[in-house]
Symmetry: C2
Subunit: 322 residues, 2 copies
């Protein structure tokens, strides 16, 4: 505990090594992680958060890599959290498709943290958001979250960032059809990457039709952009779209409203986790569970009724005066 | 309530219309669904349950379609639950890749129920398991569950079936690398479908190496089979592998142990859901939540600490004597 407390002044003065060590403390979890997040949370909220999501192999890392020098050229520091088992940042590349992060290497204005997804669930983890919090508190102007979103789209990601960029490839056309509603719900910007491949135009047309089909409650119409990120083609248009969305968010308190919703969603998810943990550590709850599973195995009661009977033991204590 | 009670005798005598209506009652959820599942649960446990999982477009439906007449030829009745937004069974086919379910159409020995996945999460839903329960109680000898498993593999599916068949295509090779551990954990049989495409041999070799790498605690070594399901190529080998796994399960009480684990996992997941529902309907819990989100938005407390404080109100009531 005292160890990380010593790091805080160095962190606050912009020491990258201290930042790196605090990221590790958070990554390792437990009470120290929570204490770090508590200490840093009031310093967050300044960074522009951009989520880059899409299936493995869509070229999310290449896009992040192509955007980074552009933010740097505009004088903005960059933090990157990559959570994708297939990401080159996490050492997961298998087909030699490594991005040229040499561009960013050695630049103190770029801070990269990658974590291989550890759970069995796809999509954004609470940990990725927490690492983004640390980079935000560290004073990065832009924090990019690279995360794998496949199959059913993770709607959670909508609240993890100011802007969500969904990256797809022409090959994904088939899947896109089944994900229409979910995609439209999360994407602020669509990027069709590897646009030199067959089917790119059709996918751009499909997504454009999709984006025009339904007006969003926030009044933003997601642009559909074609890129070949590893050749830097089309990246200027993505940069412009990011600026346009930033301007859009600045109006009518939209950014603040979105962040408040995002924080509420984060707290809600963390409460769900904490409840589950507390419940399954409670000896009374476990005794009830074991007895019920025994009855279910005998065919005496259905799993549904068993679960209802077990959960009926839930009580919520009234708040103590504070 | 009385309505579905009238259906039960007809259901028990094998009336397909009654089965269809009870499936709808379960699908619609609520107290009636639970009452149906309670009434039927003691009749379940006889069917052989086979899960067919894999990414959208892998050919899961084609495999189900190719296996069905073989089960029928062996004198076994078949029930199919398809939960996959891209499945032709659920009307989700977009590229004209419709399977020829004409083979099964009109055969009273085949009962198909499809549901488009409604949640935003991928993978098997509790509802799919419940529909499988109904088909099991209806006396189907074999119940196949077709479900989309993409990205990170859904380990839950392991406990939803006696045998899990993972269907992949040569194009999935890249993704497979990142999913090794998860795949090995769930797959009892690997099928490389569309084996006439480039890369099929390499994927078969990769999976074979993977399957041989780690010995499973259950002593089963997952075979890797190449098929072209829509041409019926390689299906006999899949059928043989299914028989071999059935024989394997028959030894040492393995099938019963797996089912007990599966039921425990199902009850656990249902308890999690029920807890969440009960918690977020509790006025005290909601008041605590709103107050905390307000403090988080002001930067006064981190989301982590807020969640911990809120969840600290959890109590578990001691069981009443019964």
């Amino acid at each position: 505990m005292s160890d990380f407390r010593n790091l805080l002044p160095r962190f606050e003065s912009g020491d990258a090594l201290a930042a790196s060590r605090l990221l590790s403390v958070v990554e390792n979890g437990g009470p120290d992680a929570e204490a770090v997040l508590d200490a840093l949370f009031s310093r967050t909220g300044r960074a522009r958060r951009i989520a880059i999501t899409g299936p493995g192999g869509a070229g999310k890392s290449s896009l992040v890599d192509a955007l980074t020098p552009r933010f740097r050229a505009a004088g903005r520091t960059v933090g990157i959290v990559a959570e994708d088992p297939t990401s080159p940042f996490s050492g997961g590349a298998v087909l030699g498709d490594r991005v040229r992060m040499v561009r960013a290497a050695g630049d103190a204005g770029v801070f990269i943290r990658s974590l291989a997804s550890r759970g069995s669930e796809s999509g954004l983890s609470p940990l990725a958001c927490e690492l983004a919090d640390v980079l935000d508190a560290f004073g990065r102007d832009v924090v990019m979250l690279e995360t794998m979103g496949v199959g059913q789209v993770e709607t959670r990601i909508r609240f993890a960032a100011d802007t969500v960029v969904v990256v797809l490839t022409p090959e994904a056309g088939d899947e896109v059809q089944s994900l229409k509603a979910g995609l439209l719900e999360v994407a602020d910007i669509f990027v069709v990457n590897k646009a030199d491949r067959a089917g790119a135009d059709a996918l751009v047309a499909d997504l454009t039709a999709l984006a025009g089909m339904r007006s969003r409650t926030d009044g933003w119409s997601p642009p559909v952009l074609a890129t070949t990120a590893n050749r830097d083609d089309g990246i200027a248009a993505v940069e412009s779209a990011l600026v346009a969305h930033e301007t859009h968010l600045a109006g009518n308190g939209r950014r603040e409203a979105r962040r408040r919703q995002g924080l509420a969603a984060r707290v809600r998810a963390l409460v769900d986790d904490a409840l589950r943990r507390a419940w399954w550590q409670d000896p009374t709850a476990l005794t009830r569970f074991d007895a019920m599973v025994e009855r279910v195995s005998r065919g005496a009661v259905s799993p549904q009724r068993a679960a209802r009977d077990i959960a009926a033991a839930l009580r919520v204590a009234a708040p103590t005066s504070q």
